[in-house]
């Protein structure tokens, strides 16, 4: 297992970097925000991502994918992080696509995955119910009635929830709160009767929605996998998305840091470059060191996703290690990004503010640093 990108991955990295700089620069995010864009992302750019093969990278050829492994999409996400690119890659592909592949039956995979890879179908995973990520604390109920289920409950922070064509709803049909037993995933049209979707305007200008499910009727055929048995696959897919998100965060952190170092080498005060002050140099050197560790743990976690010899528990521990570490360093570097730019860092006109906003959302999404340290400790038996 190598921690250095191979030739294929380097080519992909360069292609992704070129694409993001040209088609999804930060100015695009600014425009989407200022125009209160209906979709919250650039559909044309997403279609180009589809053509570049980004939506099918880890999925099997049988469904139109390329079987490039998870490492491919991680390389791409790192680049989208540099430009703060908004796209459905995390919600639709990492969470939605992988969950259908892991849980769905053959008919469901055939029906959904080719469309997802072609960019015609957008998915969103509705899991969180409180302000704190806790994937086993599910109170949304699923009650079987003949050939269908009735869903009741509330969801929040559903990434891309207001634009997705279909929603993947995590609901409980048995078991107590917090139990890993009794969890099921249902596939639901966004316009199903009884389902109320409200767009949430987030600080990072990305798409999110809250939902209320009031006696929503869903056919038993739209249950993914066996009733009450979703947890194992769900947890594995969450880990894939956590690592993917960590890769995106790595790109954002690296870009923030590059902007900091550039500024230290440009801005003059007291007749010298501020980068010559030891008080700033040492903080920059500490950040550099932390970012080196981030790069390594992300590469190791990505490699673990593609390594079939590792036990599930080892993969999970590495995913949590990566998400915890990246969340911690994202906070450090995004704060320093504003502080070291001084007054100009506080202005909306300057781009560094977009990084701190995205950092906080990415830090909390799918579990913050404390959540993942707790999980890492449990996985390591202490």
């Amino acid at each position: 297992m190598s921690l250095v990108l191979n030739e294929d991955q380097q080519m992909l990295q360069q292609a992704a970097r070129n694409f993001c700089q040209k088609h999804t620069p930060i100015s695009q995010l600014r425009q989407l925000r200022d125009s209160r864009d209906e979709h919250g992302f650039d559909r044309q750019a997403y279609q180009q991502m589809v053509e570049l093969g980004w939506t099918g990278m880890s999925l099997p050829e049988a469904y139109g994918g390329f079987e490039f492994g998870h490492s491919g999409l991680a390389v791409v996400l790192e680049e989208t992080g540099r430009t703060l690119t908004c796209s459905p890659l995390i919600a639709s592909v990492l969470l939605g696509g992988n969950l259908i592949y892991a849980l769905g039956n053959e008919a469901q995979k055939q029906a959904l995955l080719p469309g997802l890879i072609a960019g015609d179908l957008l998915l969103a995973l509705a899991i969180d119910e409180t302000p704190f990520h806790n994937p086993t604390r599910i109170q949304t109920r699923a009650e079987r009635q003949g050939d269908h289920y009735l869903l009741n409950g509330r969801k929040t922070l559903v990434l891309d929830g207001h634009v997705a064509d279909k929603l993947l709803i995590v609901a409980r049909s048995s078991g107590s709160d917090d139990s890993v037993e009794g969890l099921s995933v249902f596939l639901l049209d966004r316009n199903s009767p009884g389902l109320e979707v409200t767009r949430q305007w987030m600080v990072d200008s990305r798409n999110s929605a809250s939902m209320v499910l009031d006696d929503v009727k869903v056919s038993a055929e739209d249950l993914l996998g066996s009733e009450g048995q979703a947890w194992q696959s769900l947890e594995q897919v969450l880990d894939i998305a956590r690592v993917g998100l960590a890769a995106e965060m790595l790109g954002s952190i690296q870009e923030s840091f590059a902007r900091i170092v550039d500024y230290l080498n440009q801005r003059q005060q007291f007749g010298v470059l501020i980068g010559s002050f030891q008080g700033l140099q040492h903080r920059a050197a500490v950040m550099y060191s932390e970012i080196e560790l981030c790069t390594s743990i992300v590469r190791a976690a990505v490699a673990a996703l593609d390594n079939r010899e590792l036990a599930a528990q080892q993969v999970a521990a590495l995913a949590s290690a990566a998400k915890a570490k990246l969340s911690e360093v994202a906070e450090l570097v995004s704060n320093e990004g504003v502080q070291m730019h001084g007054g100009i860092g506080m202005t909306d006109e300057f781009d560094i503010g977009f990084f701190i906003k995205r950092a906080r959302v990415a830090q909390q999404f799918l579990g913050d640093a404390a959540f993942h340290r707790d999980r890492y400790a449990s996985l390591n038996n202490f």
């Binding site: 921690l3 040492h282 390594s296 743990i297 190791a300 915890a324 390591n380 202490f382």
Partner: protein
């Protein structure tokens, strides 16, 4: 079958036949083999193990066979280390000759110097110490003032060094001396080797806060050293000095690797698992009961894991695997990790970590206390953490250097 596989099999077989059984156990501190004229072998097997390994040059696997080294490729050396690890073999020899002097002598030394010194390092016949810091030259090492004056065939050396690790046990010293006082400070330094048994050399151990005395003050009073012992060009010793520091940092940064091996020559104990110790002393089963300590230990372990991957990545990225600009980052971070480890161990053991000697404290508890104090030196020796951060800022990040003004 590839050559590497063949090498693995022949190595495995050789180790099977030649590594004594008692050398396949975890190292204990007082059996570490440092070599030298005054070498002590508490366990006679460790002498046998050293002789056999040295015979093949495997104490220094990648050094040229011409000078007694193993002559192995980097890949072969990795295989050798894997096979040694597989049987839990102890390091046959631990020395500053191997980790610091040898690599720079191979790079900068003359053929005669290599032929004289390298084989003795490989065989552990001469134990080396490092004459770098002086009372007036710590972080600002280049301001050193130990004087070397050429008189006929010899240099006459006068001055003193401090923090000379194990100077009282060493046979030879690699030493930075000033050979020109009239030029900018970096331009008047030379790198010279001499015998600690020479007339005019004296040492005095320094007692540290840990109670141990691994460092000495070393005094030179008209010490005569043959001019041929100077390595490289006269007044060009600073580049050699810096190169050696990179090797030293690489060695010290290994302190931070998860196993804690390196600083203790591969010694392990039940204290190796901080979380294990924390649960043991609280009588916890399954989950550590102190949530704050548990969170801090998790953060430490995640950082340790990320650091270990970073060390590996650094080796992968540097094809030769030699020291590079990242050695400062590894040194800085590795040392901070080791210090964190001991602070966490203190919290894990509670007041059992606060003994100094005598009844009521187990040996391994007392050892934690002493090593906690010892660990404080990690971010001072081999260049303080502040110096490492300076180097990162200047050489890696390319930030402007205000200090350069004062170097003139």
């Amino acid at each position: 079958m590839t050559n590497l596989q063949e090498f693995r099999e022949s190595t495995r077989q050789w180790l099977e036949e030649n590594c004594p059984q008692s050398m396949r156990t975890t190292m204990v501190a007082d059996e570490i083999v440092w070599g030298g004229r005054k070498a002590e072998f508490k366990n006679p097997d460790s002498k046998l193990w050293l002789e056999r390994m040295a015979e093949k040059g495997w104490t220094c696997p990648t050094w040229p066979a011409e000078y007694g080294g193993g002559g192995l490729s980097k890949d072969e050396a990795i295989v050798l280390q894997q096979e040694l690890d597989r049987i839990n073999a102890r390091p046959a020899l631990t020395s500053f000759g191997i980790s610091m002097l040898g690599p720079v002598l191979l790079e900068y030394g003359s053929h005669e110097q290599k032929a004289e010194h390298i084989p003795k390092i490989v065989r552990g016949e001469i134990r080396w110490c490092q004459g770098y810091s002086e009372p007036g030259a710590g972080s600002d090492l280049a301001s050193l003032s130990t004087r070397a004056e050429l008189q006929g065939e010899n240099y006459l050396i006068n001055g003193s060094k401090v923090w000379t690790s194990y100077a009282d046990k060493a046979d030879w010293i690699f030493c930075l001396v000033r050979t020109d006082f009239e030029v900018p400070k970096h331009a008047g330094i030379s790198f010279i080797l001499f015998d600690m048994a020479s007339e005019g050399v004296s040492t005095r151990p320094i007692q540290l806060i840990s109670g141990a005395s691994p460092f000495c003050e070393t005094f030179f009073d008209n010490v005569k050293v043959p001019a041929g012992n100077l390595v490289g060009e006269v007044n060009d010793g600073w580049s050699i000095a810096k190169r050696l520091l990179q090797h030293e940092r690489t060695m010290i940064s290994s302190f931070g690797l998860a196993s804690g091996q390196g600083d203790r020559g591969g010694v392990t104990s039940t204290m190796d698992s901080v979380e294990g110790a924390a649960m043991h002393y609280r009588g916890d089963k399954g989950k550590l009961s102190d949530p704050v300590l548990r969170d801090d230990i998790a953060r430490f372990k995640i950082d340790s894991e990320a650091f270990a991957h970073t060390s590996r990545r650094s080796v992968e990225e540097t094809k030769q695997g030699g020291p590079n600009a990242t050695s400062s980052m590894l040194k800085y971070y590795g040392c901070e990790l080791n210090k964190r480890r001991y602070e966490l161990l203190l919290r894990s053991l509670g007041s059992q970590s606060l003994g100094w000697e005598g009844e009521g404290f187990a040996d391994e508890e007392l050892q934690v206390t002493r090593e906690w104090l010892r660990s404080k030196a990690n971010s001072i020796e081999g260049g303080t953490l502040e110096v490492q951060l300076n180097i990162i800022a200047k050489r890696v990040l390319g930030l402007p250097d205000l200090l350069s003004l004062s170097k003139k």
